[in-house]
């Protein structure tokens, strides 16, 4: 009983003392604090870690160039883990703003966490620059404190694709499959509308829950509807499972198009193996994109952290550059001053030009540049728009059995 007594005294003590300590950040030298909220544990941690690394890499480069010094004060990044949970994201946002007194917030990976952080930032009147969260309504809610530069709204990933669709692919019968997440359903909605406008028939339309072992029942069903093009919005590994099982089912179409995310990542190629060949996808970014610094970022990251970054990392890297640029230009480091500076941003990053504009009901949303990419000989090549293409597209793709 005695030891138990001490254990609970310890626990309660920890609990009471804990909160006090948690809030009081060490008072160091004067810095300009920027809060970054990312999932560093939990099932999204892989991307959270990649984005954190990219932030730090950009920060070091900027520091070397003397750009992290804002009117005599250094920029300081404070990372907080949201565990992929929205309550925690809200707590992190409140802590950063109220306890750590950050001048602005950044981060936001999952749509749900990004929404909650954005809502908190809006009600606290603190600028929030989104890195990844792509749900449409985040920048469609009229929130003047919320800015999205490096991430496109989910429904706008397909800009370049439709150009290519009209000029090259000319689909007749499209099959649409998507994960039932915010990103998946938003993309699917936009895709459906675009098909309707162009009179393209959707012959198969189904959502699935991510993490399935076996997509064959759905794919076999799809096969019967005989589509000529498949549009699929999938998370990384689901994407690999889907194309592998298409191959196993000998499901042949003229082209499989991924709706971004999963279909462009190195892990996709690694897991799907040769089934990934010729798979096409929309993308916001590829290492060999034309924007200055993109290739260097990719190589440097790979060297430094031993793995290949994807567009999530690039988003974080570019965001860090935007932050340094904005804080450098801000008249004063009040929320209002930073908001003004954000609004006036005109910067070319490795994600392309960033300019926060109001359009089509969006606010403070940079217009995304999108690409169509294709896996060719195990490499991801830009195939559209043609003026920036790194390789010529293959269309229609060979049937599974005709491949070596």
């Amino acid at each position: 009983m005695r030891e138990k007594y001490w254990l609970w005294v310890l626990l309660v003590g920890l609990a009471i003392g804990g909160l006090l300590v948690a809030g009081c950040a060490a008072k160091g030298p004067q810095t300009v604090k920027v809060g970054v909220i990312l999932p560093l544990t939990g099932s999204e941690a892989m991307f959270g870690a990649m984005e954190k690394n990219s932030f730090l890499m950009a920060y070091e480069e900027l520091k070397a160039a003397g750009k992290t010094n804002i009117k005599g004060k250094e920029i300081e990044l404070l990372f907080e883990d949201d565990q992929g949970k929205q309550d925690v994201a809200k707590a992190a946002a409140e802590k950063l703003v109220n306890q750590d007194k950050v001048v602005m917030l950044s981060g936001g990976y999952t749509s749900s966490c990004t929404k909650v952080i954005a809502g908190s930032a809006q009600s606290m009147g603190i600028p929030f620059l989104i890195v990844t969260g792509s749900a449409d309504d985040i920048t469609r809610s009229g929130w003047q404190w919320v800015f999205r530069g490096t991430a496109a709204p989910a429904s706008k990933y397909t800009g370049a694709l439709w150009d290519m669709m009209e000029k090259v692919i000319k689909p007749q019968r499209v099959a649409l499959i998507y994960e039932n997440t915010d990103f998946g359903t938003s993309s699917a909605n936009a895709f459906r509308k675009a098909c309707e406008v162009r009179g393209i028939k959707i012959v198969f339309d189904q959502a699935y829950e991510h993490g399935a072992l076996d997509f064959k029942p759905m794919l076999a069903n799809m096969k019967q509807t005989n589509p000529d093009v498949v549009f699929a919005v999938s998370y990384v590994m689901d994407a690999a499972m889907i194309v592998k099982q298409m191959k196993e089912l000998d499901l042949n179409t003229n082209l499989v198009i991924g709706g971004g995310a999963g279909y462009t990542m190195p892990e996709f190629r690694e897991n799907a193996g040769d089934a990934s060949e010729y798979v096409t996808s929309v993308s916001l970014w590829v290492p060999n994109v034309a924007w200055p610094g993109a290739k260097e970022y990719f190589e440097k990251y790979k060297q430094k952290y031993g793995s290949e970054p994807d567009y999530h990392g690039a988003q974080a890297y570019a965001t860090m550059y935007i932050i340094a640029d904005v804080l450098g230009r801000a008249q004063d480091l009040t929320p209002e001053g930073i908001r003004k500076a954000l609004k006036e941003t005109n910067l070319t990053t490795i994600m392309g030009p960033i300019k926060f504009e109001d359009w089509e009901g969006f606010t403070n949303q940079s217009r995304p540049t999108t690409y169509v990419v294709q896996w060719l000989k195990g490499k991801l090549e830009v195939v559209w728009p043609e003026n920036v293409a790194s390789a010529r597209y293959v269309f229609p793709v060979p049937r599974w059995k005709e491949r070596g």
Binding site: Q206, E209, P217, M218
Partner: protein, 291 residues
Amino acid sequence: MALLGQTVICGLLLGGMYALIAIGMTLIMGVMKIINLAHGSLVMVGMYVTYVCYRAWGLDPYLGMLVAMPVLFLLGCVIQHFLINRLLEVESVLPENQVLLTVGISLVLTEVIRFIFKSDYRSIATPYTGEALLVGGMSISIAMAVGFVIAMVFTYLLHLFLTRTDLGRAIRATAQDREAAQYMGVDARRVTVITFGLGSALAAAGGSLLLPLFYLWPDIGHLFTAKAFIITILGGMGSTTGALLGGLTLGVAESLGATYIGMGYKDVVGLVIFLLVLLFLPHGLRSLVRR
């Protein structure tokens, strides 16, 4: 017709995999009568062991399994001996606090693995990955078929072990009536330790069979825990044949649901069957066969 055939085949093969994972759980639940929410995490750890064997020594996952199983057997024994058995001995209002302990164990296992391997998605490419036989317009994945056969073999071996050996009989006796078994000289503590080890080893085997087909990251365990429960209840706690039957049923039900209702609802189909069985067949699907 080909669609129905394809659906059923997919379901059966998948069900075989599910069954192997669930057999581990049914053993544990049968003997300990506890809900083990760490089961999926054990599967996950098993998969990482097999993965390491593949990366480090190029060991095929079907051989790596033979390394993963003993490792997980030990891990299971340790968990049972030092954690769960300890808790069984203390007086508590709700026996369900064991469940919470397994939640804690699951968190710890997941985070330790995340520390070592990070959250990256990992997968291995064997020569047979992505290969399939096409029979009459129906595709049969090689890795799944092999996995299915191995799962069946394991189930059969386990069945022999439980019915033919003294230790196996002791396990079954403990599952049926712990106190009675103790009167008859069974060391129930030891039996529970071995059972948990065995259950963990089988979980590792199930995970290893999935490795060539699937992929791996630290949170993969959650996918399996729920499935294993459903199957355990479908089959009746503690029954190996029941688990096999339950696994196949769940696999086919999910496949049919995915084909004819929609991929998003496939898990609902499984859960509804689960509820119905729970309510109307208290001893699981096995009781249908017995009758």
